[in-house]
Symmetry: C2
Subunit: 255 residues, 2 copies
């Protein structure tokens, strides 16, 4: 079983929580991949540099100055910090942007109504499975940041959930894959304020039912829609799990 | 023959020169490794962030704020820019800090009279030859930035010439190595202002003679001393070469 984990800004912005997560992550046996988002550091850094973050409909526009900041932060500071901590815990991590070894080739998002700037979209052929397989087969844990490239010298800011899903699907051809979205709840809860209402397993029928009942709503719907698409594309399980529980059974398994 | 190239700040700070160098570099056949320094971006960025660069005896002191800036810039911006340009020219480059795959493990420089801060020194066992060999044997070109780690979660700012020499010596065990220091002259010149006085080949006897004559002086002496040490440690040739000439015979070969 190849286990893929995606962590977001919440953990990255909290030094102690990140260290604890990475310590636990390093104890997970077998091949694994880590994908990380960015956190609030980019806005903070843009602010320090006097560059105003550009947002349209709540989404960041990646102009050249923003691209430079996120490239330095995601591919440099955050990625190397994670890799060096994992090395400390004897996990042989190796950081990758999409440009490295042509790991992930995207394309600049076409301008329709909004110009998102240097933002990358992925296709079914974006992932260099040969590179990931080479590293994994040699006991190396790829640590992937949310910067891809277009193969023509352009770096592109890319959604980390999208990258995690694309890697999971691409590697499912040769591996049994479990994709874990690490987030701030212990899984899908019937009552969002009560951890004892965790739903341990959701298949597509139950998912439709939970949507009808209004148990799953708003931002969770695209996340779960995407997860079931990933499963249809060959990934065995998608899990929603809290950072503390990645090496335990407390999670929601989508199957 | 495995060819190793080290480039410094002069090229990195000049967008057109860097692109031209990388285009030529990508045409060099056979296995190769690129090591890059940092350039003036770090001082500029520190300045923009209102952090005063700390210097003692002309050497930068790497405090925590400086380490963060150089990590983002060297391992993020510069490294990923170089890698993405090489990918454009069909060179399958993969960026590495010393933490990635435990490529280069250094140790924090001990405090004697000066505390250099987060600066790494290397030993004979610093280079993970297995990782470099794995990448090279799979047609991948490692692109190494001047950030190492101590194996205990600490990133360390490290001299790029030192890294290049250490990689060359470590890989000389299994490969015939040519180490190229790319710099601003076409090689060692009898008259520093006259390119027609290039000395194409220098062995240790000629080196001693040139030092006595005063042809080689000041900053060139430690560079050439280091180069002859590298040769004694098993590297076949060390070349001093201009960026424009890396794929030609115009250079000084130390042997």
């Amino acid at each position: 079983m190849l286990k893929i984990f995606k962590i977001g800004g919440g953990i990255i912005d909290n030094e102690q929580e990140l260290e604890q997560f990475l310590k636990t992550f390093s104890t997970i046996e077998g091949p694994k991949v880590l994908i990380h988002g960015g956190g609030k550091g980019a806005s903070k850094m843009l602010n320090q540099l006097g560059i105003e973050p550009k947002m349209v409909d709540g989404r960041r526009i990646t102009d050249k100055a923003t691209l430079d900041v996120v490239t330095g932060l995601y591919a440099g500071n955050i990625n190397k910090n994670i890799v060096s901590i994992l090395q400390k815990y004897n996990c042989d991590a190796l950081g990758l942007s999409g440009a490295d070894g042509n790991a992930i080739q995207g394309s600049k998002r076409p301008v329709k109504t909004i110009d998102y700037g240097f933002v990358g979209d992925l296709t079914d052929n974006s992932i260099n499975t040969k590179l990931f397989q080479l590293l994994i087969d040699n006991g190396i844990t790829p640590v992937v940041c949310a910067i891809t490239h277009d193969g023509n010298g352009l770096l592109l800011n890319t959604n980390a959930d999208t990258i995690a899903s694309a890697i999971a699907v691409a590697l499912a051809n040769k591996n049994e894959i479990e994709l874990n979205f690490v987030f701030d709840k212990i899984g899908v809860l019937r009552d969002v304020n009560d951890d004892s209402t965790l739903i341990p397993k959701i298949n597509e029928n139950l998912y439709l039912q939970l949507k009808e009942e209004g148990v799953i709503f708003e931002g969770m719907i695209p996340k779960l829609d995407n997860s079931f698409n990933v499963i249809k594309s060959g990934v065995k399980n998608v899990c929603l799990v809290h950072a503390q529980n990645i090496n335990s059974d407390i999670k929601t398994i989508l199957c």
